[in-house]
Amino acid sequence: MAQLITSIKHLNLWTLLILSVAVTLIFAIQFGELKPYAQLEVLDAIGEGGLAVMSLVWLIATLLSRPRGRVTTALAFGLTLMLISLLLDCLDEFFSFNHIHPTLSSLEAFPALLGMIVMTIAMYWWYQEQAYLNLTLLRKERQFREHTFTDYVTGLYSARYMEKQIDIEISQLIDNGTRFCVAILDLKAYNRFCFEHGITKGELLLRDTGQLITLNIRGCDLTCRYAGDKFVVLYPATKLSTAIDITNRVCAAAKMHHQYDKNLVKLNPTTLHFACIEVSLPMQSEQIFEQLMTQLTYNKQAC
């Protein structure tokens, strides 16, 4: 049980949340005077109670979704203060505190003010965090971000994202006549690797290969996972010979890469087949993929 409790993410922040809500409720019940039913404003109570519940939902969502760190801590503190304020505002409809001090009810907005200040600082830190995260994604994305197109296994974007990028390149080809190249890379004997070492190890190999391709292309190029053991690389405004040179270098780098099993025994080096085409005429991305697949099959047979 103790182990289970200590394994909870953001344990301190959850404790703070429960304690602050409990203390607020106990304070109101203990020191407040219950208002007569005639003075109760139901609509006001529902509206203020709703605000408190929604801020609690935001807080829970933050704690469940975000990793540990100062941004999360600041967000949680800010939201907890907001929650206390909104809770007091709601309890104010049921309890009267005038008998303690006539101005006590007016102080209920102050935790919210403090909370908003803390959250503003948290938002600034969040912005900084996002800027650093963007740097890590620089080589994986181009022009726009769309998380629904991400491939979870490799961490790269999927074929859908590449389709959108090709469409952008095609429109540039129509407007300016800028040609571009697309290459497809395929892991040799991936099925046998999975058969010998299992699907999990196979998926790790895919992840490594995706990283490896990304490392060995230029900053302006883009790698996406196509499907299975195949990756697609887009070379914008590039001649075919240059694209083939870069792809050859990727394949050479892949040959130097080794996988290790549980006992640190070296597994077969990664070998890639590839096909590369230059797009000089407007066409659909499906046609480009079809041409690439046909050429890849031909290249593999030639090997």
Binding site: T148, Y152, V153, A159, R160, N191, C194, F195, I199, T200, E203, Y226, A227, G228, D229, K230, E286, F289, E290, M293, T297
Partner: protein, 330 residues
């Protein structure tokens, strides 16, 4: 029992269910979410001999396919299944001399290799049509598509591995999915979508294609394996209806050795009913007779044991929404 039902604990969880949950987990889908509604827990899979049912599998597939990240799971699962089946049945499958011998071995091992589907065979002059139908219960469209993708990945993976030059045609009963690239990398033969039933079409000339590295002398006798004779509930009912196309619900209930009311209840449990099951059996045969064999209406009506032609035309229009001649012309 000659058949098993959707709720029967019959399948080893480590073959398909556990890898399915594992793959979902690797894609960020929590096992508890994947197992929701099955009364199963992730830790249950630790037991070596854990058994699960078709019903549980279908529920897990429904849970997983709700997530956007699940698009490639079926294909990877098919690949995994290919490896585990090959490890188990290598001596029976790897040394079948040619494609025909392999098909015969697969037919005999049908209930062991992929018991979720049954295969119905139609022959024409140039090709063999293998119609793939759900064997246990009528799954939802999403679950059926998922299972078909697993099966397609399994079959095409084996063909590419052992018969690299062989091309087989596949017809699939759903619209072309957005993630079509996963189908492209399977490197099957011609692939088409939007058909009435799932079919694998094999050119008769390719039946003699030899299997790579096969040594006929090394093939283990299938008799030594004792393949499972117990087939899925729907498959058992369909086999009876194919044999007796004029059978009514009472006859089917007699065949299952249950009362008519129990039969109806069992069919409902398997998301099916007598009329839809019979319609499928007859309509598949009718479509094949008309489109592939060029039979006249009278010939088809006779093959399907209809007493009169107007009755047949009426039933045909109900199945396909068009008359036999309209279907012939499409």
């Amino acid at each position: 029992m000659p058949y098993f039902e959707t709720g029967d604990l019959r399948f080893n969880s480590h073959q398909l269910l556990e890898p399915l949950v594992e793959l979902a987990k690797q894609r960020g889908i929590h096992p508890d979410k994947a197992l929701k509604g099955t009364k199963l827990f992730y830790k249950d899979f630790k037991a070596q001999s854990h058994l699960s049912s078709n019903e549980e599998l279908e529920q897990i597939i429904t849970n997983i396919t709700k997530h956007e990240l699940s698009q490639d799971i079926s294909f990877v699962l098919g690949q995994h299944l290919l490896h585990s089946l090959c490890a188990k049945y290598a001596s029976y499958l790897f040394h079948c001399f040619d494609f025909k011998a392999l098909l015969i071995a697969c037919k005999q091992l049908e209930n062991d290799l992929f018991p979720y589907f049954s295969v119905r065979m139609f022959r024409e002059r140039q090709a063999i049509h293998l119609l793939i139908n759900p064997a246990v219960s009528e799954p939802s469209i999403g679950t059926y598509q998922f299972l078909l993708e697993v099966w397609l990945s399994l079959v095409s993976g084996f063909i590419n591995w052992r018969f690299s030059e062989l091309k087989v045609q596949f017809q699939l009963p759903y619209a072309m999915p957005t993630y079509i690239e996963h189908y492209h990398v399977l490197r099957t033969g011609k692939l088409s979508f939007g058909h009435r039933a799932c079919a694998m079409i094999i050119d008769k000339k390719t039946l003699q294609t030899p299997q790579r590295d096969a040594v006929a002398a090394l093939q283990s006798k299938l008799t030594s394996l004792q393949p499972s004779l117990s087939m899925g509930f729907l498959s058992y009912a369909e086999t009876f209806l194919i044999q007796y196309p004029k059978a009514c619900l009472e006859d089917l209930a007699d065949h299952f050795m249950v009362s008519e009311a129990t039969m109806k209840r069992k069919l409902r449990q398997h998301n099916s009913q007598f009329s839809s099951l019979k319609d499928r059996v007859l309509s598949q045969q009718a479509a094949f007779c008309i489109q592939q064999q060029g039979y006249s209406n009278a010939q088809v009506a006779k093959a399907l044991a209809f007493n009169d032609l107007p009755n047949f035309r009426r039933a045909f229009k109900r199945w396909f929404g068009v008359t036999p001649s309209e279907l012939r012309n499409t």
